[in-house]
Every structure is written in structure tokens, then in C-alpha cells.
Symmetry: none
Subunit: 278 residues, 2 copies
């Protein structure tokens, strides 16, 4: 943790600029989800608000990670060498502890299932997500290089709740797609794939020491990989949540123009005063 490898200016700058790119993306996503949440029907806005919290929390942590990266190196003879200050990678775990459960919350909320269904689903997924992160951390801070080590054991334990989350997403939540509009079902399948593809990066990163990879190249690849995975798993994922909310808003017959439901297509009998919607 303390001894960062010596980096060339190109390597150092690549990570530096990826962190900056991620921070800018998270801040822009925060602005979009907060300012744009009134474009969907009221019942989907809580989901967009949670999306905003996720990217907001990530922006805070990338700001800290960025500063920590700067502090961990000094430029000596044209090379970036360890300054002796630690690069605090633990910010990532603190971030995940808060954001990973919230990512599942926004997905369940946007589907607006019946309360007796969404309540237990949320409880199960939040507990599993928290356990997944909490069980990974004790292994992360060990420097074992064999898969059959304490690090490997914690990684394995952390994988159990991860598999459980996938099981819920494909089983129980997948089954609920039958009652959703077709366009929502397609978007749900896509966001679920995005989730697996991006979340899948983190266990691979966790196993890097097992592959015998270390040094400057591995460190740079890891930080760049984390940045891309975070932008996709949080900002792009949130945009897909927004797309689902829009599709459901349309299906419900809620009009952005009149900010109310069209009399014909809405089942709950709420009509806007003196407004006719298509």
C-alpha cells in the first residue's frame, strides 16, 4: 500500500487524467439526475434521486482518490516515484459500501413493483450487497499472491452474496418482467447485462495478485480499469435507469407537457384539470 511503483510521466498522467474524467462524468451525471428527474412520472423520481446520490458519493470519493494519487508521488529525475505517503485505495471500499446497495435500490424502485414485493426484495439485495463488500475488504488489505490464501478465502466468501444477487436479478426480478411493458423488459435485460459486465471487473481486479502481476503496468491497468468500470456501473447505469423510468412514464400515459396522466391510458383515474392528452 505504501510503496507505489515508479511510473513514467505517461503512466502517471494516464491514471491522473482517467480520475479527472471519472470525476467530471460523476458530477455531470449528478446534475442530470437531479435536474432531469421531473421529466418522469412522480413515482419514478425516487429512483432518479437515488441514482443522483450514487454518482454524488462517487464524485466525492474520486475527488479524494485524485488528491491521494497526487500526494503519493513526487517527480524525481523525470519519473514519478513514491513520495512515502500512502495511496489510499480504501476510498473505493468505502464508496462501494454506500453505493453498491443503492445501485440495487434504484433498480428495484424504478420497476415500481407492489409494496409487498419490493420491500422484501430491497431488504435481501441491500443485505447481500453490503455483505459482498464487507467480506471482500479483509482480503483486499492482505498481500497474498496465491489463490489458496487468506485473501483467496475472503474473495470466495464475498462471491457468495454476489452469486445470490445474480440469482435474485435473474430469478425473482426477471420473473416480474412479465407484467412490465415490452420496452421496459428489453431495457431491464440490457441494464442487467451492464451490471454483470461491469461488476464482473471487480473480482478480476481482486485476483490480479494471484496472476503474478505487479509493478507499474499492473497498477496503471488496475486504476484505469476501476475508473472505466465505475463510470459504466454508476453513471451509464443511471442513464439506463432514466431510460426505464421514461419508458414506464410513457406506458403509464403520464404527460411531460401537462405534468399529469392522460384520462384514457391511466388506470388510477387521475385526470388533469381541463387538459387533454394524446
Amino acid at each position: 500500500m505504501f510503496d507505489m511503483p515508479t511510473l513514467t510521466p505517461g503512466q502517471y498522467s494516464l491514471v491522473y487524467n482517467m480520475f479527472s474524467f471519472t470525476l467530471a462524468s460523476m458530477l455531470a451525471a449528478f446534475a442530470f439526475f437531479t435536474l432531469g428527474r421531473n421529466r418522469v412520472a412522480p413515482k419514478y423520481r425516487l429512483s432518479l434521486l437515488v441514482s443522483a446520490l450514487v454518482v454524488g458519493i462517487a464524485a466525492y470519493h474520486y475527488f479524494r482518490i485524485f488528491s491521494s494519487w497526487e500526494g503519493a508521488f513526487t517527480l524525481v529525475d523525470g519519473l514519478y516515484q513514491s513520495s512515502g505517503e500512502p495511496f489510499n485505495d480504501a476510498y473505493r471500499y468505502v464508496d462501494w459500501l454506500l453505493t453498491v446497495p443503492l445501485l440495487l435500490v434504484e433498480l428495484v424502485l424504478v420497476l415500481s413493483l407492489a409494496r409487498d414485493k419490493s420491500g422484501p426484495l430491497l431488504t435481501k439485495l441491500v443485505i447481500a450487497a453490503t455483505a459482498m463488500i464487507a467480506l471482500g475488504y479483509p482480503g483486499e488489505i492482505l498481500n497474498d499472491t496465491s489463490m489458496f490464501s487468506e485473501r483467496g478465502l475472503w474473495g470466495l466468501l464475498s462471491t457468495i452474496p454476489f452469486v445470490y444477487i445474480l440469482y435474485v436479478l435473474w430469478g425473482e426480478l426477471g420473473g416480474a418482467m412479465g407484467t412490465q411493458p415490452p420496452r421496459v423488459a428489453v431495457l431491464f435485460r440490457n441494464i442487467r447485462l451492464l451490471l454483470v459486465a461491469t461488476w464482473g471487473f471487480y473480482p478480476i481486479a481482486y485476483m490480479i495478485p494471484f496472476f503474478g502481476l505487479s509493478g507499474a503496468g499492473a497498477e496503471v491497468a488496475l486504476q484505469v480499469g476501476y475508473s472505466i468500470a465505475d463510470v459504466l456501473a454508476k453513471a451509464a447505469y443511471g442513464v439506463m435507469i432514466y431510460a426505464i423510468a421514461r419508458a414506464k412514464t410513457d406506458a403509464d400515459g403520464w404527460s411531460l407537457e401537462s405534468r399529469s396522466y392522460a384520462a384514457a391510458s391511466s388506470g388510477d383515474g387521475i385526470t388533469a384539470p381541463a387538459t387533454v392528452n394524446a
Copy 2:
């Protein structure tokens, strides 16, 4: 106060990351309470606004505490040693002086009792909360290690308003639950338990010197304990206030969709102009 114990990198980082976690949680809670307050009926929004103030004030203080912690240590020979700069724990008392009365205010406000009842309740609770913090501080800055000392005396004096607050929460405010919807009564019981469980940590922390505990382990346990207690007592407490506000909003028949009261289900006869709700 000036001589911080020497910490291992693991101990230093644990506290550092807990402070960062708390700061991120408070900022996220601030965003949630401000952006989400229109999701409840207008009469409960002041309570959510007060929740936002509490976590906003706490975020400010944790930002300061974080910087003070960084400044109080220097990394020498792989260990974090006292830099000579003080770690300013007094930020906590300043924070509590502002936030503890407000935490009681948000609880009374969300119950939306009759004005002749809530007015005197607020006055009593705010005075008691302020007295509790103000009486604890003179003892906090003493280094007495015996319970029968000046520190012990101030602690005892501070306990009197604390017991009075519990008396009001269980007696007068508990009695008012008879007129609340059943779901609100359950949530009120839960939030009252959360309050006692988290506020109970502070007198225990105050008594640490009496148990003969000092040095690195005690300092780390204290700071981690404060962080967890603060997140629960302010952010999680605020989320429960939000849950109470939502439950009361539903019971009042206020609709998030039409932003008005349903004519049939609301007892106070407020109807939206020319809008028919199911």
C-alpha cells in the same frame, strides 16, 4: 489533547477512512433530504428541512475533523506520530450544540401535533438538549481519571437533562401516539429506540478515562465509535423521520401524483381545484 498517541498505519487509516465515510454519508443524506422533501405533504417538509440542516452541519464538522486528524500526525519511520498540532475534538461539541436540539425538533415537527402541544414540547426539549451539551463540555476538557472528580461531576450534571429528555420522549410524546396512525406509532417506537441506542454511546465515550483506557487502541475505538454513532443518530435517524413523514402523508391521503389531498380520504377537507382523485 495535544499529545496524540503513536498509531500504526492500519490504525491511522481506519480512523481516516471512517471520517471520510461519515462525511460522504452526511453529504448524501443532505442531498436526499433537500431534493426529496417534496415527496411528503407540505406540512412535513419543515421536518425534512431540519433533517437536512443537521446532516449539513455534521458534514461541515466532519470536513474539519478530517483535516484536523490529518494535521495532527506526521508519518515518521512508517508510524503516525503526533505532529505537535492539536487534534481538535471540540468540533464535536460545537456540532452537538447545534444538531442535538435540532434532532429533537425534527422529531416533534414530523408528528405535526396541535400547535398548543408542540410549542411547549419544543421549548422544553431544546432547552434540555442545549443544557446537556453545555454541561458536558467543561468536564470533557479535564483529564480526570476518576469518576469522583470534576469531570465526573459535570458528566453527572449533563445526565440530568438527558434523563429529562428520555422522560419526555417516553411520557408526554409517547402518550401522543394514541392519536397517530398505527404505522406511525411503530415507526415512532423504532426511532425512539435508535435515539437511545445511539445517544447512549456518548456518555460511555465520556467515561472512557474512568475505565483507565488510554493510548492508541482507546483513541481509535473512540473515533470509530463516534463516527458510527453520528451516522446512525443523524443520517439514519433522518431517513426514519422521512419514513414517518411518508407514512403520515399516506394516512392523510396526500397524493404524490397530484400533489394534493384526495377528497375522500383526507379528514381536513382540503381538495385540489377541479381534480378528481381515486
